[in-house]
Symmetry: C2
Subunit: 206 residues, 2 copies
């Protein structure tokens, strides 16, 4: 049986229910940790489920930043340094990754609070998560204000990628099941994954 | 061992390799089908791996539209009708969903070409995928031009949701493992999923 939620039904939902429900609608979302520092080298680490591909040439990735009416350390730091990292989350570390969502005061680094180790590359200004098999260094490229709800799309240009060699395949696609990458439904329901099939390039006559 | 791709390495990558590689960086992405019609009721269906949550109140979802230098039927239709649907892709239908990426001429509907049945609700103008356990009806809310690569963020306001009842849980989070929802690595590598754990709300003292 199908349950229909009309526009009015959705408006009438309890806030907590609606948040979980609407956050589930896109399907299973990738889970990433965004690493930053402020100008005094105080580090910050935050979990995001809205990281998405913007383009391959130039290499661009984006994520959604919620309204900045309360202090968003990630955004403050990116504005100061124009630099951030995106780090994949695996089965081994999703509990720690989830814990970065707690509202720690600014002087507490989520790296220390959650026990995830930071790591710096030679070129990068922002901290990576040492254990992440896919580490991406980015420079702030563009920010777009979303009028509808006062959020922002933050776009970074990929300037460095560090990948566990065993994930590399011949055509460039990363083997993310070997990475034990997790996904999330809604805000808190974590999933593991299993490779099904690589499909051929789609053509009308096939 | 970790392989490092510097800015120069990434620029020097073969186009095909870079496309697969950069598309893999966000992690496992949700797979959705976007359904539209033009003003003459000619239907279109297209696969997207960039659908993401924008906000819960008002309920908003977004996706990235590639440059419109070639004809993008989905975008043309959304401009004409200001209406579209987002439909979840399951293990049973991911092959057909992938096939919607083939460049069919405008007069061919991907519903017919791939054998996915369309279905209309009483209120909706755009076609749903009958078999999708999560069907979302949206109205065009906002479009943002991304200068960095001439793509667009298309934002829709959720006006209707049709969900298979067995996916509903008490707090609003959808049970997407029961839905057999798939994810994709890069452009073509499909994955199934398995529920791991629902985490509690993160607080600093836990």
């Amino acid at each position: 049986m199908t349950k229909i939620f009309s526009h009015q039904d959705i408006e009438a939902l309890d806030n907590h229910y609606r948040k979980n429900f609407i956050n589930s609608l896109p399907g299973l979302k990738p889970v990433n940790l965004i690493g930053t520092t402020d100008k005094y080298k105080q580090t910050n680490l935050a979990i995001f489920a809205s990281v998405h591909h913007i383009g391959a040439n130039p290499p661009l990735m984006g994520f959604i930043m919620r309204p900045v009416s309360v202090k968003r350390h990630t955004w403050q730091n990116i504005k100061q340094t124009e630099s951030f990292t995106i780090n994949s989350v695996t089965q081994r570390m999703y509990k720690q990754a989830h814990q970065t969502a707690a509202r720690y005061p600014r002087e507490v680094s989520e790296f220390e609070a959650t026990g995830l180790d930071s790591w710096y590359s030679e070129s990068g200004k922002a901290p990576y998560v040492a254990d992440s098999p896919v580490k991406i260094g980015l420079e702030l490229e563009e920010t777009l204000d979303i009028k509808a709800n006062d959020t922002k799309l933050i776009i970074g240009r990929v300037i460095e990628v560090l990948v566990d060699e065993k994930l590399l395949t011949q055509d460039g696609t990363l083997n993310l099941s070997k990475a034990d990458a997790v996904t999330v439904a809604g805000l808190d329901s974590y999933h593991s994954n299993r490779f099904l099939e690589k499909m051929p390039y789609a053509k009308p006559d096939r």
